[in-house]
Amino acid sequence: MLLLIRDLGGIAILFIMPLLLLIVITLVQDSTFKTISDIKIPVLLVDNDKGEVSKNIIENLSESNSFEILQKSSEEEAKEAVFSGKYQLAIVIPENLSASLQKKVDQNVEGILSKFGLEEDTLAVAKEAIPQKEVRLYFDPATQVSFKSSVKNGIDKMISKIETQSIYKAFQTELGEDDAEPIFETENFIAFKEILPTKNNQEIIPNSAQHNVPAWTLFAIFFIIVPLSINLLKEKNQGTFVRLRTTPVSYAAVLGGKTIVYLAVCLVQFTLMLLVGIFLFPAIGLPGVDVSGKLPMLYLVALFSGLAAIGLGLLIGTVAKTQEQAAPFGATSVVILAALGGVWVPVFVMPKFMQFVSKISPMNWGLEAFYDVFLRNVSFVKILPEISLLLLFFLTTIVIAIIYNRRKNAV
């Protein structure tokens, strides 16, 4: 403990950096959790149609509140601006889109009505071939696939809606009804409603803080692996480990002492991160973390996650021969475990094999346990399997470290 306290710079980094990480990540991710985003992505739009359809597209894009429409006159200009990375996206609406769509819809409607004998001129008229129109999308090559997909889906949905409305309108016209009094309801019949978990009859609405605090707190807890393994290596290099080995104290007791100290560090770190989530987040415009009635279980999960991280740190410190081995191995292990555990990408979107692998990542057990408490509002029994696995991981790593040390230093 004294060694840690004496290294004030080190301890500051140990506590401050994870807090900084948590704040930055939550700020970055906050918009993805907001229903109405304050951020508008500038989008270039080249309107070669200048008709009803392009008007509709522009209106819909503007109404979505996600995009800021910047009109450009030439496709080439828009393309260059996007491919050079100045803009994320350009939408090019082709010439005569409105007219062609109308013609196509009229043709189809007339065809259907003639089948029912409702068309006045029932003589078969040769259909005019109408070439398919394409709305061109240009994306910045650096744009992420997920963003591309969501934009494509949004535009696809918008175009489908416009097409449907055109069909309804054509039917109404063909049936001789007044356009001012719509006989078809164009609103979706099937709607979606998300049912959220409730607590005291109140819906628990997850926000960026509820997601980020557990994920990045766990990440920070596991980073204890790096200073802990380096601490063991330092003792080997300083020669103090040699002295310890000649004392009657067992290696298990040495590891036990370190476990207690570093567990205390983990819990202090966890407390600081919770405090940031509860008090600082609302002060800087982020959603606050709700821990009401969850604190004992949260600390339980933090405690067992801390034990798992410490076990791995002690094992790395025992096996590694130099700090140059321990530090990069420890740091990359944390990143790999975080990736496997679902800290960055949810486990359910991973390939099947990786989903299986993620089940053996202690960070996955910790994260699931945190989500259970934070978001799923479960009882202690539900988190028991996860914290048992974390404890088992700790015991296994400690036993391996003790056996390794015994074999290496047997006399």
Binding site: D7, Q238, G239, V242
Partner: protein, 247 residues
């Protein structure tokens, strides 16, 4: 006190034995010097005797006990002063000694008084609360020695305890070791300082290439070596003048 029988050590991948079929007997109350050129096997021998290294073959007992059966008893019985400083640089001298003393089960006032007494003898009282990373080499050596003797070991192993220290520090260390020996501590120590060993040790063994070349009382060894006036001349006569560099 210490009985060594046919003790050998060959490191993994090494071509030669670092210690080869070594027999040695150290009686209670002796100050036994293990002398030899670099790479002779002195540190390897001490490391085996203090349970830091596993022998390839052979046996040894300390006070009739061996490490396999009486590990904890033996660890309480012996003290070690390694060649490295073996101190936490960001802790004070007092904190270092308090920590290492507590590892032997010494606690509270007894530990505190023992630390203060040793610090006083070693001339370090006024530096007790300074971090050891601010200490000179000589001061670190003295703290290093205290850390090995706080639990009043019956046998004390010292690996080059005076290397790299000034004359004053060396004198304080040697005087304190003599005092401990008078109180009944058996001392086994390695050194390159042959003058120091000649006057400090009751017995010496000159080791080269893992084997004992000659052993006995320093004055007798000098007497038995024609034309040798001191231990250094005996040493050179027995080990030769060739350099012993190896990697």
């Amino acid at each position: 006190m210490i009985q060594i029988n046919q003790l050998s050590k060959k490191y993994k991948g090494a071509e030669f034995f670092s210690v080869k079929n070594l027999d040695l007997k150290v009686e209670e109350g002796e100050i036994y010097g293990l002398l030899g050129p670099n790479g002779a096997g002195k540190t390897t021998l001490i490391s085996m005797l203090t349970s830091l290294l596993k022998p390839t073959s052979g046996t040894f007992t300390i006070n009739g006990l061996n490490f396999k059966e009486h590990k904890n008893q033996l660890k309480q019985l012996i003290g070690i002063v390694p060649q490295e400083y073996a101190l936490y640089p960001t802790l004070t001298a007092f904190e270092n000694l308090e920590y290492f003393g507590s590892m032997y089960g010494i606690k509270g006032e007894i530990l505190k008084n023992s630390i203060n007494e040793h610090l006083k003898i070693m001339g370090l009282s006024k530096f007790a609360n300074k971090n050891t990373d601010t200490f000179s080499g000589g001061m670190k050596r003295r703290v290093n020695l205290i850390a090995g003797i706080l639990h009043q070991p019956k046998v004390l192993f010292l690996d080059e305890p005076t290397v790299g220290v000034d004359v004053q520090s060396k004198n304080v260390i040697i005087d304190h070791l003599k005092l401990l020996n008078k109180k009944g501590t058996t001392i086994v120590y390695t050194s390159h300082h042959l003058n120091e060993a000649e006057f400090f040790c009751t017995h010496v063994a000159i080791i080269d290439r893992g084997e004992i070349i000659v052993k006995g009382v320093p004055s007798e060894l000098i007497k038995n070596e024609p034309e040798a006036k001191n231990l250094e001349e005996v040493f050179l006569a027995k080990t030769g003048k060739a350099l012993r560099d190896h990697a």
